[in-house]
Symmetry: C2
Subunit: 80 residues, 2 copies
């Protein structure tokens, strides 16, 4: 079984309150040196057959249709 | 600014109903050839200074403390 990963992140211009909440909490917990945090989603997709260009293209269609909201999110598809 | 990524996924033995719902929906949408889907989280952390072993270790501590629930989730930290 081969794995394809889809990473979905909010577009840079979209506010990410979850990430900001984490970033703000870090100094209170004693963690310095972090400038920003963005939170997104990661999907691990087990595909039948080899991870060739056709399989990646199929997963891109799935990401567009079901995993990401293209209005506010970007996604990246890669084999792993 | 350097980026460190934390991927957080449910442990393999933990049921993932979100991933299962996606996997079940795919054939209805005309997508064949997917055996399983697991959904997790991806955090992009902008750190001050270089991404050396000390910075990665600091992010590992952050992941353990704040980003992942080590009882039910595994995480991976890597520079990007």
């Amino acid at each position: 079984m081969a794995r394809v990963v889809v990473d979905v992140m909010l577009k840079p211009e979209i506010l990410d309150p979850q990430g900001q909440a984490i970033a703000r909490k870090l100094p209170q917990l004693g963690f310095e040196g972090v400038a920003a945090v963005r939170q997104g989603k990661r999907f691990e997709i087990e595909v039948d057959g080899p991870v060739d260009e056709a399989a990646l293209e199929r997963v891109r269609k799935i990401a567009e249709t079901l995993l990401a909201n293209p209005v506010i999110e970007n996604f990246e598809v890669h084999a792993e």
